[in-house]
């Protein structure tokens, strides 16, 4: 799994890949963390989160949105993301965990929101591919 930060006129985009859908999710989340902070120390405690949604794309959207929410209420930057994605009928779920790096210990800039703009989430020959524009 890996990610690259891409250019976007006013904002920033994350392009991520993973062998599985879950890996692509976690890579996107790591990309979002990198968009907020370039040098992340190795401290902070892990925490869990779970999100459900009605489709694959909305699950990715809601997952990233939940990470932003956790960031603001816990005052931590969620990094080293791990995720498991499952589906039961029309309900998509992600069980995830992050390491929360206290914001006071780092210099970070804010991602304000996730967007659907130009969002891509698709399976390719090399695994899963995601592209998400983040509102800075």
């Amino acid at each position: 799994m890996s990610f690259v930060l891409r250019e976007h006129t006013a904002d920033v985009a994350v392009e991520a890949t993973g062998d599985s859908l879950a890996d692509a999710f976690a890579a996107t989340a790591d990309g979002m963390a990198a968009a907020m902070c370039e040098n992340v120390p190795f401290d902070g405690d892990r925490f869990d989160l779970a999100v459900t949604a009605e489709s694959r794309e909305s699950l990715l959207f809601d997952y990233l949105d939940e990470l932003i929410y956790q960031r603001d209420v816990r005052n931590v930057l969620p990094v080293d993301n791990r995720a498991t994605v499952s589906r039961s009928d029309d309900v998509w779920s992600v069980q995830a965990s992050s390491r929360g790096v206290p914001l006071q210990t780092i210099s970070a800039r804010e991602i304000k929101a996730v967007t659907y703009s130009e969002m891509v989430l698709e399976e390719t020959q090399d695994g899963w591919h995601a592209y998400v524009v983040l509102d800075v």
């Binding site: 006129t9 206290p102 800039r109 804010e110 304000k112 929101a113 800075v136």
Partner: protein, 977 residues
């Protein structure tokens, strides 16, 4: 024509600085770009133009979607975009219980114009040509703009206590006395609103020609031309004009007369005459005004006064046309007139137009015969003995039509009457059979037209008879149960206790049995008493009670949306954090600050929370936060963070009405709680500036600005709370209006129909977020005053640190604007408009600033005579501007102008080119600008070179007269996240 080639788009030059994207394909209005060629070149480089075009797809959008000179790519909507979207509330009736668009199974009946109904599913192929009935203030029809299929969803069957049923998904909003409520939130016992008239099923009429020029062979060419010009000649069975003529003809046969040459007179109540006048206009003729005169009547020897209302038409062509269609030229009594020859070849609903208009004029209103029984509504006519056969034929045809649509009539009655002076006359009469089911069918499918009193009375009759029928059914059930249980040996005494009905009824049911159906019982309300208490609204709707709601499985569901009211959209997604700017004045001059910049910037940076995780000026609990959301700057005033004058100089005086903290999610509140009074990061900042130029001395004086003065500009928004509100509603709307969303070119344009529950909730939540944003900027300003007091060791009041203005530039607001309308008064795009009228709009300003001119009532009193202050922040190394609302803004841009410089370069690119510390050093050394930021990356990303030239943006605004330059400021110190 000058054009500009922007790759995918070719823009047409309207005039200097005004460019147009012509309306094509699915666009509802054209797009407009306000820019010089230099700025246009920059705007063309990203997706701004495509996004502007996408925006024009939004239902209800007016005039044109506009891109300001500072436009750049955003989400869904371009940043620097303005759209005025019709904002009235309203609904469409799917026949029984529900209103509004949304998620109804295919078999749901939709009420259409001309007294028709059609199954929702059948609208798929023809919705664009149809008009659906909308219950606004009045019942009216409106074009259908959208038809969407939303896949299979769980569907529920709702039944009311009066036996109406409808199926819908849980999200389907129903109109209730408290506004729109989703079905999922309704339960048995709750009230909902229905419109009991159903109309007749639509069928396509057999195509044939009714009148041709040959029928007018003797008429002069001018008369023929009047008719051909109005599409009335030739007249075919399938022409829409015929439907109006059928109504007019039917009514005139009842309550019309011919009058002098070329005249047609119509008599009735003023409001009914207005409806007829509208229809006369619809076929291209001009009716007179409604005349009223007092008349003395004499009947059976007693005289009384009454006011008679009437109007006339004076077109010989119209009169001749109606005569050709069957209107008698002589006295109705002695003419041979009968049913128009073509009538029985028309569709049932067309025949009903003719008859219901005739009934509106001639038939008795529903009335009680005695107690709970209604009279047979009747029509009668006098005919001379010589012409009675034609009269009888007329009634026989009428009975045959009614029978075709399932309505039974009595035998035609005839009486010898007191003959008038000249003739022996016979009175003919036809009545509708008065059993409940038959009357309900008559009133709800044909009924009366052009007569509001009778229509209202018919609605009451339907409701009364349904109630009565339900009671009879209940009593039938009890009777049969009691009989069976008594036969089985249960004591009658126990049965009496068990049933909620009088003892005598139980006894008769148990012992003597009964013949025929039971009566509704002695305590059942009389019709007249019922009518007195029962309310029918102006739009002919009534309130009823939900009896049961049950799940009936999964069905394919559909949405439709109408142009009128119900289908106007409050677009979400591009109205985000309500960010805005405020400017704080001081009486300091640049000389007072020079040499102390470092001290000042450090103190400000220390005192004002910025960046990620920096906290806020105040830490709030839930109650406080709710107060802030509801009361805005009023809260700050009470808590000592503001003075009265701050409110007077803020947009909306610092309190956005219609804010509902309950519409803001817990998640949003959790985020907001820790951030109240914080700058955030990105392009948000606080800047100490000096006034460098004054362009309009008189206005600058009123604003309290002069050269060399120190001011403070604060640019930030509602922080995480506002973004969470946006995200939450974006997702809710995505789920609730999926079908609709699929028709829009971009998911980020997610929109909720105005008047829908979700739209109202979103608007209330956004207003609450705006209050939060104002308080946020207020708290920062409060801190700034404290810092200045510390640094300069003087009370901030002595430094006259007064708020100039606070204005949001990411916001949707309900405002009234002039928009173009078509000949029928419906709002349309610029190209089709023949006139203009005031409409309430949701004006969406995404990265655009309100710019109301002098005299506008919504400009705070302090500035009303010079125009609203507008604050345009520039980038760190360039100036900012203070403008005032320009004269042309209302006409050109829904009262808006630009909001800033607009980005030119991506953040990633900026970081590759600039290094934060270098930028800081450079600004300090070459321009004496002191910058302090939480993050070096932010400084690089916000470097002066990444923004458009704000001078050029403002110059265009000034040239176009939408926002006039008043003063320019230049940075002294800048702090950011």
């Amino acid at each position: 024509m000058t054009t500009y080639d922007a790759g995918e788009f070719t823009l047409e030059k309207v005039r200097e600085y005004v460019w147009k994207i012509p309306q094509t394909g699915e666009m509802r209005v054209p797009g407009r770009v306000l820019a010089s060629e230099e700025l246009l070149a920059e705007i063309s480089e990203d997706l701004s133009l495509k996004q502007l075009k996408n925006t024009t797809h939004l239902p209800g959008i007016q005039k044109y979607a506009i891109a300001m000179p500072d436009a750049h790519q955003g989400y869904g909507f371009p940043v620097g975009g303005v759209a005025g979207i019709d904002a009235e509330n309203g609904v469409i009736s799917p026949g029984a219980v529900g209103y509004d668009i949304n998620c109804l199974p295919g078999s749901t009946d939709v009420r259409l114009s001309f007294g028709r109904r059609m199954e929702l599913e059948d609208l798929r192929e023809r919705f664009e040509d149809e008009r659906a009935i909308v219950a606004g203030d009045e019942l009216t029809d409106s074009p259908i703009r959208l038809f969407t299929e939303s896949g299979t969803k769980p569907v529920y069957r709702v039944e009311t206590t009066r036996g109406q049923t409808i199926q819908a998904t849980a999200e389907h909003p129903f109109l209730t006395p408290d506004g729109m409520v989703e079905l999922g939130d309704l339960g048995p016992g709750d009230q909902t609103i229905v419109q009991p008239f159903r109309g007749l099923e639509h069928e396509d009429p057999e195509a044939f020609t009714i009148l041709t020029e040959d029928d007018f062979a003797d008429a002069n060419p001018q008369l023929k031309r009047v008719l051909t010009d109005r599409n009335l000649l030739p007249l075919r069975s399938t022409d829409e004009e015929l439907n109006y003529l059928l109504k007019i003809l039917g009514f005139h046969l009842g309550d019309g007369s011919l009058g002098g040459e070329g005249q047609l007179w119509f008599y009735g109540e003023p409001e009914d005459l207005e409806s007829i006048r509208e229809d006369v206009k619809s076929i291209g003729f001009t009716p007179s005004k409604v005349y009223s005169r007092d008349r003395q009547h004499e009947i059976d020897g007693s005289s009384f006064k009454a006011t008679e209302h009437s109007f006339k038409t004076t077109s010989k062509a119209l009169r001749r046309l109606l005569i050709e269609l069957g209107l008698p030229e002589d006295s109705k009594i002695s003419s041979e007139f009968s049913t128009p020859w073509f009538l029985d070849r028309l569709a049932d609903w067309q025949q009903a137009l003719f008859y219901s208009a005739f009934f509106g004029a001639e038939m008795n209103a529903p009335a009680a015969q005695h107690d709970t029984n209604l009279y047979c509504p009747k029509v009668s006519q006098n005919r001379t003995v010589e012409t009675v056969d034609s009269g009888r034929q007329f009634f026989e045809d009428m009975a045959a039509f009614l029978s075709d649509v399932g309505i039974e009539t009595n035998e035609i009655e005839s009486f010898e009457t007191d003959s008038n002076r000249d003739h022996d006359t016979i009175r003919l009469r036809l009545g509708i059979k008065n059993d409940s089911q038959n009357l309900i069918r008559f009133f709800s499918t044909v009924g009366y037209r052009y007569n509001r009193d009778k229509q209202r009375r018919a609605i009451k009759a339907i409701e009364y008879l349904k109630r009565k029928e339900r009671e009879i059914v209940r009593r039938e059930r009890i009777a049969s149960e009691v009989q069976a249980r008594a036969d089985g040996g249960e004591p009658v005494r126990e049965l009496k206790e068990e049933y909620d009905i009088n003892d005598r009824f139980i006894e008769r049911s148990a012992w003597s049995g009964r013949e025929g159906r039971p009566r509704p019982g002695e305590t059942f309300l009389d019709f007249e008493d019922f009518c007195e208490d029962f309310e029918v609204q102006e739009n002919l709707t009534v309130t009823t009670t939900v009896d049961s709601i049950e799940h009936v499985g999964e069905k394919t569901v559909y949405d439709i949306g109408v142009e009128h009211d119900a289908h106007n959209f409050l677009a979400n997604g591009f109205v985000v954090s309500n960010c805005g700017v405020r400017m704080l004045k001081t009486n300091l001059t640049y000389a007072d600050v020079q040499g102390r910049e470092e001290e000042l910037v450090d103190a400000l940076f220390e005192a004002i929370p910025a960046g990620l995780g920096g906290g806020g000026v105040v830490q709030t609990d839930v109650d406080t936060l709710e107060d802030v959301l509801e009361r805005g700057v009023d809260w700050a005033l009470e808590e000592g963070y503001a003075v009265e004058a701050d409110l007077a100089h803020c947009e909306d005086e610092g309190v956005r009405p219609g804010a509902d903290p309950d519409a803001v999610s817990q998640k949003a509140k959790d985020r907001g709680r820790q951030q109240l009074g914080s700058l955030g990061s990105g392009n948000h900042f606080l800047e100490v500036q000096r006034v460098t130029d004054v362009y309009r001395a008189d206005v600058a004086e009123r604003f309290g600005l002069k050269e060399d003065q120190i001011v403070v500009l604060i640019h930030c928004g509602s922080r995480g709370l506002g973004h969470q509100v946006c995200t939450d509603y974006l997702r809710d709307i995505e789920q609730a209006h999926q079908g609709l969303l699929e028709q829009l070119p971009d998911k980020e344009l997610a929109a909720a129909p105005a008047g829908s529950h979700l739209a109202e909730e979103y608007y209330a939540a956004m207003n609450a977020a705006i209050n939060f944003a104002w308080v946020n900027r207020q708290l920062i300003m409060h801190r700034t005053r404290e810092v200045f007091a510390d640094v300069f060791d003087r009370d901030w009041r002595d430094m006259e640190m007064e708020l100039l203005y606070d204005v949001a530039h990411n916001i949707a607001k309900k405002e009234t604007h002039d928009v173009g309308v078509d000949p029928e008064g419906r709002p349309v795009g610029e190209a089709d408009a023949v006139d203009s009228e005031e409409r309430e709009l949701f004006v969406h300003r995404k990265g655009a600033t309100r710019a109301f001119p002098a005299g506008h009532p919504e400009v705070p009193a302090a500035y009303r005579d010079v125009g609203q202050p507008i604050i345009i922040p520039g980038s760190m190394g360039s100036g900012s501007y203070v403008l005032r609302g320009g004269e042309n803004s209302l006409e050109e841009t829904f009262g808006s102008t630009a909001h800033g410089a607009g980005r030119l370069m991506s953040r990633t690119e900026a970081k590759n080119i600039y290094w934060g510390e270098d930028v800081q050093d450079d600004l300090r050394e070459t321009q004496q600008i002191y910058v302090k930021a939480e993050s070096g990356a932010t400084v690089a990303e916000e470097a002066p070179g990444v923004y458009k030239d704000v001078d050029e943006v403002v110059r265009i605004s000034d040239e176009l007269g939408i926002g006039d330059r008043v003063a320019r400021t230049f940075p002294v110190c800048n702090i950011k996240g």
